[in-house]
Amino acid sequence: MALFLNTFNKYFSMTSVYLPEDFKKKYEKLLDKESADFFESCKTRLTKSLIINTLKTKDISFLKNQEIDFEKVKYIDNAYFIKSEVSGLGNTIEQNVGLFQMQEVSSMLPAFVLNPNETDIVLDLTAAPGNKTAILAQIMNNRGLIVANDVDKTRLKTLLFTLKKQGVTNTIVTNQNGITFNSNFLFDKILLDAPCSCEGMIRKKPDALKEWSNSHVQSKSDLQKKLIINAIRLLKKNGILVYSTCTLSPEENEEVIDFLLKKYKCTVEEINIPGLICDKGLTEYNGLKYNPEIKKAIRIWPHKNNIEGFFICKIKKEE
């Protein structure tokens, strides 16, 4: 019986994913022996997770009353893995009134790395659908000010609804292109969770790599370079920029940071998340050498943490 259950669980936790040949080649080269583990993890369904909205409650008793098996995420306060969900959490009263939000664990991290305080003026340059903005508001206790921007008018509706439901009262929502976003004041902190090729999302969306190609990655990289240059321009001296993507391609991560460091005087700050297994940012890839500071960035591999793949870099503007 136990053997049957193990086989059953393994079968139903596996998903049929599409991994393009060039993608496989790329990560075989980058990860060498680890690549098999990485590809295997891509086929495993992602464990759902949620974060409690501390603007509304700190009490998790409502979770205990649901018929679900949950486990605390060790490295994020108020975040939980949903191990086995019997009745849907997505349509409960608690979800309707914003006591929590379903969100992938990796994508919660950039807001905590930015860690704004209650007096900061913060820009979330590519904010939709708003889950990261809502966490920023929680960290700031709904004080200070967040400008939550997105270029996409359709996604803006989702952003607005998320902020309303979560009870966020310190936010102005704007609709500008992130590349040309302009402001008559500078920001203390900026979050740039850049649009990317979404390689890290494959466990959530098995067809995430349908559009993937080397040229697609390069086009995202070009866009990200334009976004990061504008973001740094909007930052105060000594201000902090957190750059993140849900992708693992060095072209969209280290290469973008290297591009910035060549143009602006910035330093990269260490990121310390106790309990999370992170690789350092690459300083060399495909024959190219990147600024050694970039090793302070973190790469989150799905096969090492059983969460979505992610890249996060914390940058301080020197002048």
Binding site: V97, G144, V147, L160, V173, T174
Partner: protein, 159 residues
């Protein structure tokens, strides 16, 4: 056009929230009040100057959170009232059980005689609470002993 609410109307709104629901005036004074059409939103006033700078920008799509979809008739936004804690609501509220709360989200009217804990002073909008959380607002009709869920929440979801 989005603009700061004039002092007279702001005071009127604060007085209404205080007299109808018992919300403390000093808490309500922490916010800036923004008007767009008939809708009134609140935003925390920590960065007043910046907000004033941005208010007329074409790029600004929303400021803070809407608390009245129609301030002239004091029609509250169910989601917006989520910024208050249940302990701040002293008058005109109902404490729903789980079945009643589920019915609320389905838009079903609820007979006030079936509600165990309530404080209903007069007909008009009331705050609905479930498990110590504000889940929305409803229209109370005293003569008919019923509350009708304020469905703006559901409509917002559908938009």
């Amino acid at each position: 056009m989005t603009k700061l609410l004039d002092l007279k109307t702001k005071t009127k709104i604060i007085n209404y929230l205080n007299s109808r629901f018992g919300i403390d005036k000093s808490f309500l004074e922490n916010y800036m009040y923004i008007i767009k059409g008939n809708s009134v939103s609140v935003v925390i006033s920590d960065k007043k100057e910046i907000i004033q700078k941005m208010i007329n920008s074409n790029f600004v799509k929303n400021i803070g959170i809407e608390i009245f979809s129609n301030y002239k008739d004091y029609v509250p936004s169910s989601l917006g009232f989520g910024i208050f804690k249940n302990s701040q609501i002293l008058n005109n509220f109902v404490n729903l059980d789980r079945t009643q709360a589920n019915n609320y989200f389905k838009g079903k009217e609820i007979n006030t005689n079936d509600i165990k804990t309530k404080n209903l002073l007069s007909s008009g909008y009331v705050v609905c609470i479930y498990n110590n959380q504000i889940i929305g607002t409803a229209k109370y009709i005293k003569e008919e002993t019923k509350i009708l869920p304020n469905l703006s929440f559901v409509n917002e979801k559908i938009k």
